[in-house]
């Protein structure tokens, strides 16, 4: 990969591992503001949907997730899937860090260990060839 493409790819991956987790954290923050959902009647469901989509954090979260998704699609237009995808493993660690520092969520050592193992597992899954059904890249 040429150096300018490499820089562009790393920058896009950085945006992905910031905006994806931040989007989820904002959705979490927004939903805590909405409060626990009850779905006992159609009127209650409608009221809940109106409340959800009137919450600023929800829209910020959705915007961040769309930014993540667009960046992901763009980076795949010039970089290899097998190069980009393993970076998503970092997102799980990022979510835990952001939840801890921005939402003040208590995370036990066992949960940190679990997140670390998930990161490793996702990295291995993403690093294996994406095409296995035949053709020149088949494993």
């Amino acid at each position: 990969m040429k150096s300018h493409l490499r820089v562009k790819t790393y920058f896009a991956i950085l945006l992905m591992i910031i905006f994806g987790p931040l989007g989820n954290v904002m959705l979490g923050k927004g939903m805590k503001r909405v409060g626990e959902i009850s779905v006992h009647s159609p009127a209650q469901i409608f009221h809940t949907l109106v409340t959800i989509f009137s919450t600023t954090e929800i829209w910020i979260g959705i915007t961040f997730l769309i930014t993540f998704f667009l960046t992901y699609m763009l980076v795949l237009s010039w970089a290899d899937y097998t190069f980009v995808q393993p970076s998503s493993s970092v997102s799980y660690g990022m979510v835990a860090l952001l939840s801890h520092f921005l939402l003040r969520e208590a995370i036990t050592p066992l949960r940190w260990l679990g997140v670390l193992v998930i990161c490793l597992g996702v990295f291995i899954v993403s690093w294996t060839p994406p095409r296995t059904t035949g053709g020149p890249n088949a494993a």
Partner: protein, 125 residues
């Protein structure tokens, strides 16, 4: 806890099945090579005629609202790591539903993800 598990089940399974349905639907539409506005409009018209795509969108919407619901009472640091189970469900679905071959390395990664999710769930504060 049971309500959380049920909602997480919907987030993971409906989300992954939605992706598989969209993938199957898009395979029926075929690869998009021409990105001119006229051709993209033609592709969109083809896409909305495929039942798998509608089923996929419905499942994705179910997963998104289940995610919002579970986030209304559960911690983000618990919910998001658990959604990584979609890698396991995706591999199983890809193997059974799309007849894809899953490599040994991929199964190893999926096993690690599953162990990690169990640790996250039992590691409550």
């Amino acid at each position: 806890m049971p309500r959380e598990i049920v909602l997480l089940f919907f987030v993971v399974c409906a989300g992954t099945m939605g992706e598989l349905c969209i993938s199957r639907g898009m395979k029926m539409v075929g690869e998009v090579r021409n990105f001119s506005p006229r051709n993209l409009l033609y592709v969109i018209l083809q896409v909305i005629r495929v039942k798998w795509i509608w089923l996929g969108f419905s499942l994705e919407a179910t997963a998104f609202f289940s995610l919002l619901w579970v986030l209304s009472f559960a911690n983000v640091s618990e919910v998001v790591p658990v959604t990584s189970m979609s890698y396991a469900v995706g591999a199983l679905g890809g193997k059974l539903f799309l007849r894809e071959r899953v490599t040994r390395e991929r199964w190893t990664g999926i096993l690690l993800v599953t162990v990690g999710v169990i640790l996250v769930l039992i590691g409550r504060s």
